[in-house]
Structures are given as structure tokens and as C-alpha cells.
Amino acid sequence: MNLTEREIIEKEKNEEQDTISKSSEQSTIKKIISNSFLHMAIKKGIFYFVVFFIAISLAFLIPRIVPGNLLEYFYDARPAGTSPEAWAQLIAGLEEYLGLNYPLNIQYFNFLRDFFLEFKLGYSVIYDLEPVANLVLRALPYTMMLVIPVLIISFFVGNWLGARTGYTNSKKDKVFYYIFIVLQVAPFFWMAYVLVDIFVLKLHWFPWLSPGGVPNWAWDWDAISLIFDNFWLPFIILLITNIGGWATGAHALMTYEKAEDYITYGRKLGFRDKTLRKYAYRNSILPQFTGLNLRFNGLIGATLITEIIFRFPGLGYMMVDAFKKFDYALVIGTFIVTILIIVVGNYIIDMCYGILDPRIRVGGKGEA
């Protein structure tokens, strides 16, 4: 009995070793796209799809369950020359055209079908019944050209600055740390006023609300230069506030990392400070990746508000503009596309984190 049991155990051990050696023979690309990775990708994909579905359901439901009709504004906005009957008829026609006269469940079904099959988001009332999808896709590049560079640059620069000041931690670096804290807590909309006052009104470096507004994107030097004139200030605001946020986090992580044993050992061995800082930086940056999701969500919100302050024609500006003119299809359309950006961005960030840290992939099997 004992012998057979031992044999079985030995066989199992041999099999395990075989599988380990086999997996180590696989190329690095195959390792990355291993089973656990695909598993995590599918799990996360389903989770984010559920999030997106709930969000668009909310976007559909909220305007329809609050008291008041979607076209209420137009009942009062009758032009002076028209008779009330003709105006009521026109609104009824508009309601039918927008599909608002069906019961709620059929409206919901139509909404989902239009969105998932044809990417139709309804028709904008203030832009002569132009499809909302076109308008939103026109505004999307402006938001993305703020969000993506800010996210990438602030992540690397902020972490680098925070880690550098956290490693030496001299008096000079303490000053930097307090500056980072103030940048992090300073409300970016108020910082926007400060920068406008200094750079636009006192120094005249940038135009303040160019008369024709920011033009549409075109491969034309005048248009591009005008867009970038209006681009720099919101970009700088978002960048410095985000750098402050990253740097404070990296500073705190670096002070913990500095006390680790391997740094002391390395210092005893006589490594240069520069080399040790590089090692500590690599280890301390990993926890920051978990914060990337939350920061990304916050950054999108901040971008929407900054756009409105600077009248930069991105999604946020379009949303508030549409709200002020009571165009609910456009409000909901911009909201849905914003959520789409957030969901896709979070998914990409999660996947990157899965590639960087293999432990997450195993954890991805357990829960979504």
C-alpha cells in the first residue's frame, strides 16, 4: 500500500515538473496570451459591458421618469407669427419623428436596438435634427486630445518627480512636496481663473474666447493653430493638477520603499544612489497603476468641467450647451459616449495591469 501511494505521489510530481518545463519552453508572446490572461480579458469584458449597460439604461430612464416632457421647452418657445394649433401639430410631428409617443418599454427596446445595431443616438433638436452620433463624433477628438496626453505625461512626470523628491527627502524636496499637495488639493476650475488672469489678460499670450469659437478640425494651418491656441491653457491646468496628485502618491510610496532592506543592503554594498533610486522607483511605481483607473475617471470629469470653462468644444461643452438649450437627445448622447470612453479606457488599463503584474491575472479568475 505504502509503496503504491509513494509511486503515485512521485508520478504526480514528475507530471507537475513536466508541465512547468513545458510552459517555460513557450515563447514570451504565448506566455502573455496564456489561458489566465484570456480568462481575465473575458471576465473583465463582461463586467465592463454590464457597467456600460446599466449606465445607458440610467441615461435612458432618468430623463423620462422625472416630471415634465422632454419637449416641454418647445411648448413655450412658440414663434410670434404661428398659431397655437399649428405649433402643437408641429410638436406632435416632432414627437413622432423622435419616437417619443410610444410606451416606455417599446421606447427602451428601440433605443437599445438603434444604439447597438446602428450606433444611432437620436436627433439633435438645436442642430436642425442632425444625428447626435455625428455631432458627438465631431466633439470626441477635442476631449481625447486633452485626456490622453494629460494621462500619459502626468503619470510619468508626476511619478518621477514624486519618487525623486521622496528618495532624497531633503529640505528642498520638502518644499516641492508641499507644492505638490497644494497642486493636488487646489480646485482646478479656480486655477483656470488664475492662469487666464495671468496668461490671457495680463500677458496676452493666448486668445480669450476667440470670436468664431474653436473651428472644426481640418488639415489647414490656420485651423490647427487656432485650435492649439485654445488647447494649451486647459491642457496645462489638467496637467499640473494631475502631476500634483501623482507626485504626492509617489512621494509617500517612495518613503516606504526607501526603508526596505534591499536598499540598505545595496547602500552597504556601495551602489550609487542613482542606481538604487532606479530600483526603488521601479518597485514603487507598481501600486500607482491600481490608482490609474480612479484617476482616469476623475480626469474625464475634470476635463468636462475644464472644457466648459474654456469653451473648448469637446463633450463637456456640448453637454452643458445642449442642456442649456433643452436638447435632451444631445445631452444623453454625449453622456453615453463619455461612459463609452471611460469603460473602454478602464478596460485597457486593466489589461495593461494584467500584462505588467501576473498576480492580477490569477486573481482575475476568482472575481470580476
Binding site: 497644494v182 476650475f189 488672469d197 480669450w208 480612479l294 468636462l304 452643458v320 442642456f323 435632451y328 471611460i342
Partner: protein, 314 residues
């Protein structure tokens, strides 16, 4: 006689002395002052400043933020509205476009912003504590639903949703904005409280409580909650600061509440009435600095508190 014996003897003597409660409080106070001197002084100064502002808003001449000031104009021999007056001894922060004293408005705004943050923070903390504590204790389906809601709320876009809700609900009432902010910003705290509860759940005193046949909900709220209270207080302070800043953010877009004069409404006037373009820097710089100071002080309270709690647990 070793040192340890000396200490023991001293302790025995002290026990026989029957220290009065006043002495004990004094001793505890000194011990606390030795350890957390900076934190205590900082908190005291903060609360005293807030108290002074709140008292000032109740007594004249600071009790009416809508009072308009006029001055006698000798040229036209008539009373003129004293608008856009520069800072002077009469109006320390000048007056705005309607001739209202900016310092009075600032005091009221700080008070109202803090009250707003307090109530919103209570809503957030209530939701976070409920979901974070009830999940691990009920277990099964309830836990699954609670953690699923928390996970979704973590990746849910807060500010776009707040913008949409405030834009669609056309009622500009203070409680609408409060509820909208409160309902969408609680998620991360629920998760951290949940993880704390999960570790405390395995301790022995909880097992004893379970053996004595207490109900799950009772254990959750009478036995576990006091032990996660430090984290709840931390979460509350962070919520408080965040709510003030988010309220200001959506107020300057004109989609926030309109009946409480908050710092956000003061900053909204900077865009609407063109304070920035008209170089009336005395009108829009103080509200922003107040906002930074409030948020910074909550940030510092939170970081010092978390240090204190870490010391206690280790």
C-alpha cells in the same frame, strides 16, 4: 532590586493612591499632547476659526449677505450703487456687481459650503458603511449583491453622471444636489470598510458573540462597527472635502443648487458676471483660497489621523 521591580512598586503605590478622575484626565491629556501635539493644535485652530466664522455670520454687520451698499455721489447729487468697490476699510474685500459686501458673502459661503459637505459626507458615509458592513455579515446573495454594486460604482463615471442628473432634474434645490453627489461618490470607502470588516470578522471576540447566539445584524453594527470606526471617520473627512469641491465644480457650470450661497456660487459669478475679465481680482481670489484652505485642512486632518491609527494598530 531590578528596574522592573522598581516600576512595579511604583505602579502599586499609584494604585493605592486612588487617583481622582480629574488627575487621570489630566495625565491622559498630557500623554496625548506629548504624542499628537501638532495634530491637536491644528484641529483646535481649525475648529476655532470655523466657530468664529459661524458666529460672525449670525451677528451684524455680517448677518445679511444680500444687503446692498449705496454711497452719496456729489456730482449727480444722488445715491449711487457702490458696486465693484475696491478693498477698503469699509469693505475689506470690496463689493460685487450688485453692491454687496464680499466679506459677508464669503463668510456665509464658507459656512454653507461646510454645512453642505457635512450633510453630503453623512449620506456618503451612511451608504458606504451600510454596504461595507452588511455584505460580509449576511453573506451569500446579499454579499454578492453588495460587492457587485460596490464594484460597479467604483468604475462608474461620477462627474458625468452628476452633471447629467443635475442637468436633467431641473429643480435647483439644495437637497437634490446633495443627494446626487452623495449617491455617486461613496464607492471606494465601501470597499475599504468591507476589507477591514472581513479581517475583524475572524477575531475571537466575534466568535464569542456568535456563540452567544446574537443576531448577525446586531454583531455587525454593535461589535464590528466600533472597531472599524477610525476608517469610517477617515472616509467621512475625505467625503466632506470632496463634496465641497465637487459642489463648487458643478455650481460654476450653473447646474448646481441655487438656494444656498456656497463658495461654488461665488466662483460661478466670476464667470457669469465677468469678474475675471474686469480684473476684479479681489472678488474671485478669496473664495478660491478659502476652498484650497478648507480642502487642505481636511487633507491634513485625514493624513494625520491615518498616521495615528496606523501607530495604534501596529
Amino acid at each position: 532590586m531590578t528596574k522592573q521591580m522598581e516600576v512595579d512598586l511604583k505602579n502599586q503605590e499609584e494604585l493605592k493612591l486612588n487617583l481622582s478622575t480629574r488627575d487621570i484626565i489630566k495625565e491622559k491629556f498630557h500623554a496625548a499632547m506629548d504624542r499628537y501635539k501638532h495634530q491637536i493644535i491644528f484641529m483646535l485652530v481649525f475648529f476655532i476659526v470655523i466657530l468664529i466664522i459661524v458666529i460672525l455670520t449670525l451677528i451684524p454687520p455680517f448677518n445679511d449677505p444680500d444687503k446692498q451698499y449705496w454711497y452719496w455721489d456729489p456730482v449727480v447729487e444722488f445715491f449711487q450703487l457702490d458696486n465693484y468697490a475696491k478693498p477698503s476699510l469699509e469693505h475689506l474685500l470690496g463689493t460685487d456687481q450688485n453692491g454687496r459686501d464680499q466679506l459677508t458673502r464669503l463668510f456665509h459661503a464658507v459656512r454653507n459650503s461646510l454645512a453642505f459637505g457635512l450633510f453630503t459626507g453623512l449620506i456618503c458615509t451612511g451608504i458606504a458603511v451600510f454596504l461595507g458592513v452588511i455584505g460580509p455579515y449576511k453573506g451569500g446573495v446579499v454579499d454578492g449583491i453588495a460587492s457587485f454594486i460596490t464594484n460597479i460604482a467604483l468604475v462608474f463615471p461620477q462627474i458625468p453622471l452628476i452633471l447629467l442628473m443635475s442637468a436633467v432634474l431641473r429643480i435647483r434645490a439644495w437637497w437634490i444636489t446633495m443627494l446626487v453627489i452623495g449617491l455617486f461618490t461613496w464607492s471606494w470607502a465601501a470597499r475599504s470598510i468591507r476589507s477591514q470588516v472581513l479581517t475583524i470578522k475572524e477575531r475571537n471576540f466575534i466568535k464569542v458573540a456568535k456563540m452567544s447566539a446574537l443576531k448577525g445584524v446586531r454583531i455587525a453594527f454593535y461589535e464590528v462597527l466600533p472597531n472599524v470606526l477610525p476608517y469610517v471617520i477617515l472616509a467621512f473627512i475625505i467625503f466632506l472635502g470632496n463634496a465641497i469641491v465637487i459642489e463648487a465644480g458643478i455650481a460654476i457650470l450653473g447646474v448646481g443648487q441655487q438656494n444656498w450661497l456656497t463658495l461654488g456660487l461665488l466662483l460661478q459669478d466670476a464667470l457669469q458676471a465677468g469678474w475675471v475679465q474686469s480684473f476684479s481680482y479681489w472678488l474671485w481670489i478669496p473664495p478660491g483660497i478659502c476652498l484650497i484652505l478648507i480642502y487642505l485642512s481636511f487633507f491634513m486632518v485625514q493624513s494625520s489621523l491615518s498616521q495615528t491609527f496606523e501607530q495604534r494598530t501596529s
